[in-house]
């Protein structure tokens, strides 16, 4: 039988160490909403979302009460809209109406975010894909909780450099259209390589075409729990360190598994996957960078950071995989800058640069995330940064992503405040040398060879 010590341990994780379930994300397929009449598409989308997700928020709150575990976000992901709207939308403005419908439907059911305003263009773009991409700045500026993502490369197809070039311009335009809110629109736009179909985390969530009609995906979190566990093994060797991370990841993931199963049962929607990521928040003690410090670094970004992060990421996976039979999504440690107080401190102390962050993305999940850069950064430079990050994903057969915010009207040394879970960030300097000729070549980078690994 459960003993008092175990009960105390669990409750302390929740009360003192910020253990939470980060998100219950309901994936909804909108493929059956396709129609050649734009008004009908919008109507069908609204009806399907508001019907299927009607009880999502209430169910989430009920599960919170039953187990006394906070479920921070309730979200929806939908089929990439470029596929759903392709038959009806003849221009970018048509797509914007769908974004507004998604926003309205999501607000009606009371979720925090809706993701899937997306296009998958890793090899080429259809005219619908291009129209959707060109509509992103307006779509994000005229909605509040819609999130957008574009997959521009994969290990199997290579990198679509035309799309990479275009995305540099789109990021700039989104920043410009949302400049009154410190270019907040860019915080809702992710550019991916090897995007997973079942990721529950925003802003990159979408409901892949290989998925069922509706599915529950759950993202767990708990950097604070890992940090507290590591405080007890200071000075011990790597074996003890790894064992501790693994055990903690196991416990955290089990909670996610329980919540996912319960939500699936109550909503009568099949359970998809657990995403066992360590997702930080700006709250003190909920930081991935603090774990790196606890492992033995003065600041995130110091020499040894990449190795420490690699170890952390791998142990989280090893512990989590034992805890749930269906692990998917991104699953690893997130290293967003603005959402992690420890990362912000590291940038402000001069310990962490964009280049070091890029190296860190080689060994952790996702990539250059929530990084504020000067508003006058050129579109081609942003495309260059995207291309670098996509190349890391393509060659290493992993998901990588870019979420950069060129803050209009601000430069290095200034700070930008996004509020809530998105946090705040010091603006980081960007390498000033040009990559115009590289980005302007056009075409695509071929898929890499899958042998001769070195």
């Amino acid at each position: 039988m459960i003993n008092i010590g175990e009960v105390q341990e669990t409750n302390e994780m929740v009360e003192k160490e910020n253990l939470d379930v980060r998100t219950i994300t309901l994936g909804i397929s909108l493929l059956d909403c396709i129609d050649s009449d734009l008004n009908k598409v919008n109507e069908k989308i609204y009806n399907k979302i508001t019907t299927l997700a009607k009880n999502l928020v209430a169910t989430g709150q009920d599960i919170e009460k039953n187990y006394c575990i906070p479920i921070v976000n309730k979200r929806i992901s939908v089929t990439p809209i470029a596929l759903v709207g392709g038959a009806a939308c003849k221009c970018p403005e048509d797509f914007v109406t769908i974004a507004q419908t998604l926003d309205r439907a999501a607000k009606t059911v009371g979720v925090n975010f809706i993701g899937g305003y997306s296009a998958l263009v890793s090899k080429g773009m259809t005219s619908a894909d291009e129209n959707l991409i060109r509509s992103i700045p307006k779509a994000l500026a005229s909605t509040d909780i819609v999130c957008s993502s574009v997959n521009v490369g994969s290990t199997k197809t290579g990198i679509n450099m035309d799309a990479v070039k275009l995305m540099g311009e789109i990021v700039k335009e989104t920043a410009e259209l949302t400049k009154d809110e410190d270019s907040l629109g860019c915080a809702k736009l992710v550019i991916f390589c090897n995007a997973p179909d079942d990721n529950p985390f925003m802003a990159g969530a979408f409901h892949g075409v290989t998925e069922a009609d509706a599915i529950i995906n759950v993202g767990v979190s708990g950097p604070g729990v890992v940090k507290t566990a590591l405080e007890k093994v200071r000075g011990e060797n790597f074996e003890v360190l790894c064992e501790t991370i693994k055990k903690t990841a196991f416990k955290v993931t089990r909670v996610g598994q329980l919540v996912a199963k319960e939500a699936s049962k109550r909503l009568n929607v099949p359970f998809g996957i657990i995403d066992l990521s360590l997702a930080p928040t700006p709250a003190i003690g909920d930081s991935v960078a603090d774990i790196l410090c606890e492992i033995g670094l003065e600041h995130a970004g110091a020499p040894g950071t990449t190795a420490a992060l690699a170890l952390l990421n791998d142990q989280v996976k090893k512990g989590g995989i034992m805890a749930s039979s269906y692990v998917g999504g991104l699953s690893g440690a997130f290293i967003p800058v603005s959402e992690d107080q420890g990362m912000i401190d590291a940038v402000e102390a001069g310990a962490l640069t964009l280049e070091k962050l890029e190296a860190m993305t080689c060994v952790c999940s996702v990539g250059l995330d929530m990084i504020a850069i000067p508003g006058d950064t050129k579109a081609t430079t942003i495309s260059g940064i995207i291309a670098d990050e996509m190349a890391i994903g393509m060659i290493n057969q992993k998901t990588t992503a870019v979420r950069l915010i060129p803050v209009v009207g601000k430069g290095v040394g200034e700070t930008v405040e996004f509020g809530g879970l998105l946090g705040y960030a010091p603006i980081m300097p960007v390498n000033q040398f040009s990559c115009d000729a590289f980005v302007n070549r056009g075409g695509r980078i071929p898929a890499p060879v899958h042998s001769f690994k070195n």
Partner: protein
């Protein structure tokens, strides 16, 4: 009414005072909740109790019991939590 045959864990944490267990147990007995196990410690004046209880024959729903325990806790000046047992089983047992 939602009736749960499941086991719940009730934890009481707060400054020690006379009659905490009595009040909690009286409430549970009035609600038809069967107590299976109680363990308790006092660390530097702080009262820490855990109960495993069965709601199988309860006359109230889980959410009512949970809410009323919360109110009872406020009256006594301690924090009372009522959670379904699975969260602990999942976390601490393979």
């Amino acid at each position: 009414m939602e009736k749960a045959a499941d086991k719940v864990i009730i934890t009481v944490v707060g400054k020690d005072t006379v009659g905490i267990i009595a009040k909690v147990c009286t409430f549970l007995s009035e609600s038809g909740v069967n107590i299976l196990d109680i363990s308790q410690t006092i660390v530097s004046g702080y009262f820490n109790m855990m109960m495993i209880a069965d709601l199988g024959a309860a006359t109230k729903s889980f959410s009512d019991i949970s809410e009323q325990l919360d109110q009872l806790g406020e009256q006594i000046g301690v924090s009372i939590k009522c959670q379904r047992e699975e969260i602990f089983e999942m976390m601490h047992r393979i």
